[in-house]
Every structure is written in structure tokens, then in C-alpha cells.
Amino acid sequence: MNEAITETVAEPAQTDETVILKVNQVSRRFGGLVAVNNVSFSVQEGEIFGLIGPNGAGKTTLFNVITGLIPASSGNLIYKGENITRRSPHRIASKGIARTFQNIRLFGNLTALENVMIARHVHGRAGILSGVFGLPAARNEERATQQRALELLNLVGLGNRADENARNFAYGDQRRVEIARALALDPTLLLLDEPAAGMNSNEKADLSQFIRELRHRFNLTIVLIEHHVPLVMGLCDRIAVLDFGLLIALGDPAKVQNDPGVIEAYLGAE
């Protein structure tokens, strides 16, 4: 069994102002099973942070805890200095944390455009009555929402298919719509759960580049869960490794790659 890391000794010096997300001794238990075990790390503003580990290591569960879909059993989460530990998902989203899902959760019977527009909800102000009556403020807002959504769809290369139902898209394209949707939230922190799943190596390279561009263009901090180790090593500034819910390595790609515990965890799994 690997030793859990409980201190962040190896991390470069961080001031609190630059830490976007602080995961503080977070655990999540399901009955007798401990899915996330006392995990701590900080994510710096502007970095691309990787979260890797064998299947079932607790990565998605951690995402779910961070975004409020599942409550933490213990520990806390500090986002931009604010404690978001017990907040509801929509509150957390409105504060600027957006995500994609491992199993893609698009609104299948709505169009791609509608999917992306929906994520603009928190940025809208028009009430029902002004919307229904088509008052100018509401109409303008609606127009702006559509515009922004279309821009984002164009960004992921799907602008020409804005009016198709999301369920009719191929798997890879659905992933792209999901990313556009997450971006529509105007997030500060973007969580991507296995964005490269089902892609071939060319597509993965494109995705890597795309993620870098996203960070630059939207001033994002990105945390991504990924299985494909080379992709992560090439893309991420720092990486955290989970195994059986425990954090077993944390640091830059070179360090993590050579960590014996990590090698064992992956050799054991694959």
C-alpha cells in the first residue's frame, strides 16, 4: 500500500492570493467504503492541474464533492477564499466553477444551442413576465445569450450544427458541446472529467492544444481528470495521483512520473 501524502512539503511556495481552490483533508465515505480519503492539495490560479489514478481511485467522486453534487463526509473546500463545502451545486456554479461529466450529461432532447444557452442562466436577469411579454430588456438579453452560445459552439467547431438535438451528435462531438456548455458559465475554474475519452492520438493532441488555448483565452484554471498518462504529462503543470482514495503523489510531471508509488499503482492496475 502506498503512503498517503498529508503534507504539501514538495510544493513550491504558494501565497493564499494565488490559490484558486484549496482541498483540505476532504474525505467521502459511502457506508463502509471510503471513496476519498483525507485528500489535500491546492490549485494555483492559472495552472492546468491533473488528477490521475487507476479506475475507482475516487477522482470523479472528488469532483462531485467539489461541485457540491455529493457532500463531503469531512474536510472542507475553499474556493477563492470562500468556504464552499456545504453549498449546493447551482450556488457553486454561480460562483464560477464549471464542469463536464465523465459520462456526458447533455440535455439530449434540446438542441446544442439550447444546451449552451442554458448554462448562461446565472448570467441572466430577465424574469418570466418580461420574457413572456417580450419586453425589450428581455429580448436583448435573449439575443445576447444566443450570440454568446453560438460563439462558443463555433469555438468548438460545431456552430453549424447549433440547431440539432444534442442526442444526435457523435460521442466526440457531444464532448465538445459539453465543453462549450461549461464555458458558457463564464467560469474561473473549469473541471474536465476525462475529456479525452474515446479519442485517438491525433484528437488527443488537438485536445491538449485546445485546453491550453482555453486557459489562455479565458483566463481559466483547469483541473482535469484523465486516464491517458502521456496526455496528462504533456499538458499539466502539476499532477495529483489518487489510489484507493488516497493522495499518493503530488508535484510536477517529472517528479510524479518517477515516483515509485505511482509506478506501482499503475503497473498493478494495468
Partner: protein, 313 residues
Amino acid sequence: MAEFFATYGFLIVSMVLAAVLALSLYVPLMAGQLSLASPGFYALGGYITAVMSTKMLTYDSETFPIPFVLLEMLVAGLACGVLALIVGIPALRLRGIYLALATIAFVEIVRVLALNLEITGGAIGIFGIPQPFNTQIEYLWVAGPLLLITMLFVYRLERIRAGRAFLAIREDELAADAMGIDPTTNKVLAFTMGAILAGVVGALSAHFINTWNARQGTFDASIALLAFVLIGGSRTFLGPVVGGMALTALPEILRTLSGAGSLPAWLGEFMKDGRFIIFGVLLVIGTVFLPHGFIGPNLFSGSRGRKESRPLP
């Protein structure tokens, strides 16, 4: 012409009112909520009218003044809105099934209260509710605009931010939550809108039917409404309208035809007593054979005007 309206006036207005009631079920359904509460709010709306018009309002003219009718509808709508918040908020925090249960309980409580309270006339109900019109067809002056306004409202709702939030919740509540949409608030909103609609219909119906008692608005009625929405098609808001009208008219039409000898007599008799059997059968067949069911997916697909989604130049 006048004779046609005299014979079919009741049916026509009933069809229109049924369409609005079906829409009162459709709105919560847009947010994925199966509410069986409409009959309860319908009953409440009717009682408000019945009590107000027989015990509280006085008037000089021969017929009951129409502005009073509108006032009653307003009061009924508000009362039902408030009550919907009380019923809805506890239930809508929880899984979908709990709303169905809570609304069933609500309808039953209303029924028992109606049977026992003095103000509602107990088991006998309230009789002799004043009429704002001399003939039944004239109710269309109020019912017609009510339906049109409601249809317009729902049509617009589907195309604006608030309506999209409902649809998102219906499609995937968790994902909607993660995208910044508060499920509980929106579900309560959808539920409340449905309640207000049902209450307003009830308020008008009490005048229309002339008496009101605990047999208005029952569990059977909830299920009949479900059939309206299901059979009419839940692809767009037009579905409940068509379903409500068709399923109200069909038994009557068949009965008339069988009376005139065009159809066997037993079918006519069956239509009179057995319409609920048919609704039940339709519900079972509808849910089993419709390709994607009706509550989950398929409330929307291409039939809506896609052109509005194109960006403005």
C-alpha cells in the same frame, strides 16, 4: 346556428376548459414534475367562486356581473398560488415520486375538508351559483380568451430563459443543477403556475356548472387529465390542448352518433359510463407503446419552430 350553440354550447365550453386544465398539468411536466394536484386546486377555485358569489358579493343587475367573475378568478388564482407554495416546497425538495404522493394527499385533504366544512356546504355542496351569462355558449367570452392567453403564455415560456431552465431540469436535474439552475426553486415555480391555472379554471367552472361540491376534482380527474396530456401528445403545448378537447368531445360525439343509430347502442352507453375505462386503457397503451414514453425525453423534437433558434443577423 343558435340551435347548434344551444345544443352544443355546454360541450364546446367544456372542451375549452378541459384544454386549459390539461395545460395546468403540462407546465409542471415541462420541469419533469408529475403533479396530480390540478383537481385539488380546481376544486378550491370553484369553492372560492361559489362562496364569494353566493355569500359575499351583492349585485343589482339581472345577471352576475362579469367583472365579479374576473375578480373571483383572480382571487382563486392567488389563493391557489399561495397554497401551491405550501404544498410544493416540502415535496419538491425530494424525489419525483414524493410530489405525486404529496399531490394525491393534497387532493384528498381538500376533498375531506369540502365534505365537512360548513362553508362549503358539506356533502351537499353549494347550489344556485349565479350566472353571468344567459346561455352556456356565452361562457366562451371568458373561457376562450383564457385558453388563448394560456396557450400564448406557454408557447412563449418554452422559448425564454425561465422555460429553458424547466426543460433542463426535466432532461437532467443534476446536470442542470451543475450548470447553475436551482432545481427546487424552478420546480416550485412550475408547480405553482400549474396550480394557478387549475384554480382559475375551477373558479370559472363553478359558474358554468352552477353547483359545486366535493365530487368536483377527484383522483379520477387527475388521471383523466394525464390521459389528455399523454394522448394529445406531449411534444408541444398543443398536445394537451388537442388531447383535452378531443377526449372531452369524443365520448359525447360517439354517444350522439349511437343515439342517432349510426353506431351500435351499446357503444353509446359505454361511452357514457365507461369513458374512464377508456382513459385508463389509453394511459396503459400510451405509456407502453409510445417509443420514448412521455415524461422523460421526447417532450420536444423537431416539430417546434427551429427557425427562432437561428441568431439574429
